[in-house]
């Protein structure tokens, strides 16, 4: 999952980037309303973590602009103003969730997973396909009930494919999900991760569609 983090406090932003990355998310961080608008206009994110008070305006303005564009990207508001009226105002402005500072890092990650799950219309927190089960909260993969060890990046590739079984994901889409802006995209890495996953889960699990990308093989 790729997350846009909009937070101006350097310590909190740094902690969130590190913490959410540990939780298996890819985090892009910006520190102002203007940068947030630019990021949201330019790329697709699975969810946005939005601070309410930013140096050049209110997070609510960013949210309003996003919703005005008919963009339904889930947004979770982070703020020190967590009186009930503030929560109501935030939710009514189009936010999907609201967390008062200080919050628990694991709770934020769980809420983000829940928002994305709800957005994709799934009921179960687990991604399952055939004998394959993927737990986004634990970053764990099981094949026929026996655990399989995968790296964070391998997990990200697999979870993206499993969100829409049968749908083709291009290499570019997978790279965008894997790397934030700050990271250098290494060539051939997607191929390396797919190769590793096939080695661990079986060759037939991931299908290469020549010239287009990869997809999860749907059992006939």
């Amino acid at each position: 999952m790729r997350i846009l983090l909009v937070e101006d406090d350097p310590v909190l932003a740094d902690g969130l980037r590190a913490g959410l990355t540990l939780a298996g998310l890819t985090v892009d961080a910006v520190t102002s309303c203007a940068d947030a608008q630019a990021a949201l206009a330019g790329s697709r994110f699975d969810a946005v973590v939005l601070d309410l008070m930013l140096p050049d305006g209110l997070g609510l303005d960013v949210l309003a602009a996003l919703r005005a564009r008919q963009d339904a990207t889930p947004v979770i508001l982070l703020t020190a103003l967590d009186e009930t009226p503030d929560r109501i105002r935030g939710l009514d402005a189009g936010a999907d969730d609201y967390l008062g500072k200080p919050f628990d890092l694991d709770e934020l990650a769980a809420r983000l997973r829940a928002l994305v799950r709800r957005g994709s219309g799934r009921a179960s927190p687990l991604l399952t396909h055939g004998g394959l089960a993927l737990d986004p909260a634990m970053l764990s993969v099981t094949l026929d009930s026996s655990p399989v060890g995968v790296s964070r990046r391998e997990f990200a590739v697999l979870s993206m494919l499993m969100e829409r079984p049968g749908v083709i994901r291009s290499k570019g889409e997978l790279e965008e999900r894997l790397y934030g802006w700050q990271e250098e995209v290494e060539s051939n890495t997607v191929e390396v991760y797919v190769h590793n996953l096939r080695a661990k889960l079986g060759r037939e699990v991931i299908e290469t569609v020549r010239g287009l990308g990869y997809r999860l093989r749907v059992p006939a």
């Binding site: 350097p10 310590v11 902690g15 590190a18 913490g19 540990l22 140096p55 050049d56 020190a80 500072k101």
Partner: protein
């Protein structure tokens, strides 16, 4: 407690009483004059009547002395025998007199009106002297009787008035109660309020006399409400300013716990230390502001400005490229001022200057006798933000990250307390900020 009702009542009663007294005095004076006139005319007429009845002195001689008694009809009510008549011959014999008239002469020989004392009574007499008939006709009445007449007249007027006085008092008291009801209503409405209720009192329906009072009250309510709103804002901002670093601390701590790599854990711990430093500075500033708002000022002591500034410049952490120059003039400037407060302000100004510079010179100097000037070589403050920078928690759009936005607000509040003022402007000859602390004003 002075009651408006009682006060108005006393004033109204005194005024009414005074007017009545004046009326009584006027009536008694006026009716006395009128009575004098009427009675004098009666005396004159009676004298003429008697005179016309007298033939000559000879013919009257030996006549029945009470001959004239029957001419005066008896009057009721203590006014009988009002008039007395005497007829004297020129040689001094009493020819005739009315019944009840004294034997002594009521008048001397002069003609016309005169007042005389006869037998203990004062008499008003009218005399007709007729040398042809050889008689002097004297008609008189007692002044005492006239006084009694006036007294009775006035008493007749005053008695109902005196009886009406308590009734009038009651009526005035009741009317005042009715008239003052709007005032009582306004008072009851305000008295019935909760302590938190700062809504304006509706001015409609209140009489125009208490409108100014209600307007003033509403003005006060508005001021109190504004002060409280400001307090709420500051509290909300303070909460934000404290909760954000707390959230950062917690997140970094959780990252440090969860991190597998040493480098990640070390980075998180370093961030925690930096955040704790920053948060403790913020808490220090919030406490300073709260103390200043509470307004507990200490006593001043004489001290040297130059040494104080040098001390501050040495202790405020700064990049190696930033040099602070303290003008030698400042070393000779000694002042009686509260050291802690001034030091807090100057430290804030120095921190402010250092924060906005990577290298360059900060220059402290004295302008005139009372103007302490600090100039830096940073970027200055954008013109449109100059008026905003002293607001609490205001941070410039391009400001470097670590400020709390409280420094200048604290400086201003502190300076007002020790009788000084802060002015800020961008330098004109080059980029940079120029702050002037004007000392020696009246403390607030």
């Amino acid at each position: 407690m002075s009651s408006l009702r009682r006060r108005l009542f006393l004033i109204l009663m005194a005024a009414t009483g005074l007017i009545w007294l004046c009326a009584v005095a006027w009536i008694s004076f006026g009716s006395r004059n009128e009575l004098e006139h009427v009675l004098d005319t009666r005396l004159q007429e009676a004298a003429r009547m008697v005179h016309s009845l007298v033939m000559t002195g000879e013919r009257l001689e030996g006549a029945e002395k009470p001959a004239l008694a029957g001419t005066l009809p008896p009057l009721s009510g203590g006014y009988e025998r009002q008039l007395s008549c005497q007829i004297w011959s020129f040689d001094g014999r009493l020819l005739a007199r009315s019944s009840g008239a004294p034997d002594a002469a009521l008048a001397d020989e002069s003609e016309g009106f005169s007042d005389r004392e006869v037998g203990g009574d004062t008499w008003r007499v009218y005399t007709i002297v007729d040398p042809e008939k050889d008689v002097r006709v004297v008609v008189g009445d007692r002044i005492g009787l006239r006084d009694k007449l006036v007294r009775d007249l006035v008493a007749g007027l005053a008695a109902p008035a005196l009886l009406a006085m308590p009734l009038l008092g009651l009526l005035i008291w009741w009317s005042l109660g009715r008239g003052l009801r709007p005032l009582n209503r306004a008072a009851e409405e305000i008295a019935a309020r909760e302590g938190e209720d700062m809504r304006p009192v509706p001015p409609d329906g209140a009489p125009s006399e208490i409108q100014p009072l209600i307007t003033a009250l509403n003005g006060l309510f508005a001021k109190v409400e504004a002060a409280r709103a400001n307090e709420r804002d500051v509290t909300a901002f303070a909460a934000h300013e404290l909760r954000t670093p707390l959230a950062g601390l917690k997140t970094q701590a959780q990252v440090a716990l969860a991190a597998g790599e040493t480098q990640m854990r070390e980075n998180a711990l370093r961030q925690i230390i930096a955040s704790v430093d920053r948060t403790s500075r913020l808490v220090r500033q919030l406490l300073a502001l709260a103390r200043l708002d509470a307004g507990t000022a200490g006593r001043g002591a004489e001290m040297e400005l130059g040494a104080l500034i040098r001390d501050i410049a040495d202790t405020v952490p700064h990049p190696p490229g930033v040099v602070t120059v303290v003008d030698p003039d400042l070393a000779h400037s000694r002042r009686l001022i509260e050291r802690d407060t001034l030091s807090l302000v100057l430290r804030n100004l120095q921190e402010n200057a250092v924060q906005n510079m990577t290298d360059g010179m900060i220059h402290w100097r004295l302008e005139g006798a009372d103007r302490l000037v600090i100039e830096d070589e940073g970027p200055g403050i954008p013109a449109e933000e100059l008026s905003l920078v002293r607001q609490r928690f205001y941070r410039g759009r391009k400001a470097a990250g670590s400020g709390s936005g409280l420094g200048l607000a604290i400086a201003e509040a502190a300076l007002a307390r020790i009788g000084a003022r802060l002015a800020m402007d961008n330098r004109t000859e080059r980029s940079g900020l120029r702050a002037v602390v004007e000392l020696g004003l009246d403390p607030k």
